[in-house]
Amino acid sequence: MKKLKYILTVASFALIIFGLAIAQLFIPDADVSYSERRELTQAPEVTAKALFNREFSDKLESYLLDQFPARESFRRLNAVTRFYALRQLDSNGIWLDGGTVYKSENVTNDTQIEYAARLYNAVIDSYLRDCHVYWSIVPDKSYFAQDKGHPHIDYDRLISIMKSNVSGARYIDITDTLDIGKYYRTDTHWLQPRLFDTVDRLGDAMGVGEFLTDESEYTPHTLSPFYGVYLGQAALPISPDDLTYLTSPYTDSARVSYMSNSGVMEENPEGVYTLSKFDGMDGYDVFLGGTQPLIRIVNENAKTDRELYIFRDSFGSSIAPLFTGAYSKITVIDLRYVGSQYLSNFVEFTSGSDVLFLNSTLVLNTAMIMR
């Protein structure tokens, strides 16, 4: 009987060790992990230099981990073990409640938040003295789950720091226009079709409420499946979201141009929604093409000839199109990708225009990524 036990033990070990080693050799390498939204490490080059400075051994380990056979299944096994066997409340800060995936942020970084306020003030002082300047904060999903006992940003403190440090701009509180149902279950972002209360609040405050496009004038279009950023990080068996975007005569007629690497504005033939990006690394890039330092939306059919400048993060990508009926020109600026000191090279701020600083709590809490 002991012999049988030994044979089975050795056989199970050999099957796993040799089986996975051989599978590793024959399974072709993948370029990207869509669930984690990143490029995967490729086989390292063997050079004498790489061998002797340990670059090869480090890269080989990364490569093997990234290209491991049945990697997604192993990641899922890890997540399931942590959540259901070890009963851990989160895995790398990712946690679940009622099918919604959240990410904990357990540090409220006063220094970073103060930096954000100072940056706003510097931009206002440098460029926006003759404009109507507003600022608002997009709460991340954990704002609506503060009673769940998970670590989160101290939102009251964050807002208070911003309020007491930002000057020369009016604060618009949009927190009560949002709830957890207005965010993707598997992603960090909000749902465009559920932003009308928020758009109304901002539009009313900026004096364009009456020119906003009515909800009934929009046509929803759904793309699926949309694997949100947290879905990949959670690695749990959760169904993906649908991504819905809204079109109207105003979004259809808007001409959108992005700043190229050479600093020249180039028109995007796809317009407000870059549908070709849905199958890319991040489906949310459909909205205004995703990560862009500077975007200009010109709409000759708009109900006013007013201009709006939005200093934003990725949340701004999906809300900006909803202002296309009210503004003839919307300039969307992401200070994470274009330094504020260079703005005059690319943007001419028109006197009397509206300006909205709209960043999320997540970006404000790590504000030094803005320049």
Binding site: Y6, I16, A21, F74, R75, N78, T81, P151
Partner: protein, 463 residues
């Protein structure tokens, strides 16, 4: 290369096992192991692999010379030379910058540090080779005439970089003649899988908790104690897990390495704790430092001196920082107190009080051990006792207490012989199914944790 890394588990190990199984005869198998060991070390220390080769050749030559001149003064000179070379290597790489830093801070000097990185495992392989030449000098071992066999002993990858400290006499016979039997391989596989599970599923998870504590801006007394408990569990499962993997690998290759841990956290005195914790290091200091100094068969004053020397050295062996020395001194003082009077009192106390006494002091000792130098010791110990108006409880501490409750409970139970006792109560038939399933499950779940996580350090690599 880490035992708990993909490179080791799914590239290095299968190739080595295959080549080893195919190699005919012990001599050939030794060469497979030697080359594999050099490759293993090269992956972590491409330059310092030369140090390992130098150490092998140096101690091989010294031992032959010692044996040739046994009983003569020349043998003693050769022994001193061998020990001096090993200690010089250890001293230069491990303690030079520590001494420079100490001189700078005491004298206000600004001597530049060398910045020489510490070769992985140097504390282990220098101790192994020193024990070898000492044993040859004492006539307890024959000098190994074959350089390849000698180098195989010095470089043997399963225990090369984090122990257990295997003495030449432990494996001398096996280096010459051993068999790769089904039983040995199966027991080795089981031990390796359990070691891997201890390391990856418990030590690393406890390590996450200690890291969360370090990064937290919401500390409290509760959080400090949670951290202290987590670290004590992490270091035990990390080091004993590594030892299990080493012993398991050794068994797969036909070696029987010495045990290194024997449930230290169930001890009822600090004396007992050190009989159960890092047993090969304790044995080394006993046989090569404490007893040669006279042990306890001398005057009381010299006996106390001997204990003090051993424990200062034990502390310094663990790291070139004052908190490690303090850690060793703490145990030295506790052992002296136990030997003088407390030991007898402990024997009469109810068992749970003795256990609490040991656990409290051991947990405190590991807080000292893991602190960032002496200022860190003050800060961390202060935190445990609420210094600096620290709140008793914080919401973050409660959250992580809840989140890590099950892993902590598993770790606490796993640190006792309870699982082994329960397992031994099973009859043979369930074991036939259970052992392969548990082995495979540990391997697969550990692999899942390795693939998903980036937190995978080995604490004892720095020693």
């Amino acid at each position: 290369m880490l035992f708990s890394g993909a490179t080791f588990l799914y590239v290095f190990l299968p190739i080595v096992l295959l080549l080893y199984a195919l190699a005919p005869g012990v001599k050939c198998k030794n060469y497979v192991l030697l080359i594999a060991s050099l490759v293993f070390y090269f992956f972590g220390e491409p330059i310092y692999v030369l140090l390992l080769i130098f150490s092998s050749i140096s101690d091989w030559l010294h031992s032959i010379y010692i044996e040739k001149h046994r009983g003569e003064k020349k043998a003693k000179i050769a022994l001193i030379s061998s020990i001096a070379i090993n200690l010089a290597m250890l001293g230069f790489f491990k303690y030079t910058d520590f001494l420079i830093g100490t001189v700078n801070s005491v004298l206000g000097a600004s001597i530049p540090k060398t910045g020489v990185p510490l070769p992985i495992g140097i504390s282990f392989f220098t101790f192994q080779t020193m024990s070898y030449t000492i044993d040859v000098y004492r006539g307890r071992a024959h000098a190994q005439r074959d350089l390849g066999t000698m180098a195989t002993f010095v470089c043997l990858f399963p225990q090369l970089i984090a122990g257990p400290i295997v003495r030449y006499v432990d494996v001398a016979a096996e280096l010459e003649d051993r068999k790769m039997t089904l039983e040995n391989v199966a027991l080795g596989v089981r031990r390796f899988a359990f070691g891997l599970g201890k390391k990856v599923l418990i030590a690393n998870v406890m390590g996450e908790l200690t890291q969360i504590f370090r990064d937290s801006g919401d500390k409290s007394v509760l959080f400090y104690w949670l951290y202290a408990l987590a670290y004590a569990l992490q270091i035990y499962f990390d080091f004993s897990g590594y030892s299990d993997m080493a012993i398991g690998l050794g068994a797969m290759f036909g070696f029987k390495f010495p045990e290194n841990f024997n449930y230290p956290y169930i001890s009822k005195s600090i004396t007992e704790f050190w009989r159960r914790w890092h047993m090969t290091l304790g044995g080394w200091f006993r046989d090569y430092v404490y007893i040669p100094l006279g042990g306890n068969r001398t005057t009381k004053l010299k006996w106390l001196r001997n204990i003090a020397i051993v424990w200062i050295l034990t502390g310094a062996w663990h790291g070139a920082q004052w908190n490690f020395v303090l850690w060793g001194v703490m145990f030295g003082v506790l052992l002296i107190i136990e030997k003088l009077w407390l030991g007898k009192i402990l024997e009469k106390l109810p068992a749970f009080i003795s256990h609490l006494y040991v656990l409290f002091l051991v947990v405190i000792s590991f807080v000292i051990f893991n602190a960032a130098g002496l200022p860190g010791v003050v800060s961390d110990l202060g935190g445990l006792f609420g210094a600096g108006d620290l709140p008793l409880i914080s919401s973050e501490a409660l959250y992580y207490l809840k989140s890590y409750a099950v892993p902590v409970v598993i770790a606490v139970i796993g640190a006792t012989p309870i699982p082994k006792i329960l397992y031994n109560k099973l009859t043979e038939w369930p074991k036939v199914a259970l052992e392969p399933i548990v082995t495979a499950a540990l391997l697969l779940v550990s692999t899942a944790f390795i693939i998903n996580g980036s937190f995978n350090p080995f604490l004892y690599f720095r020693f």
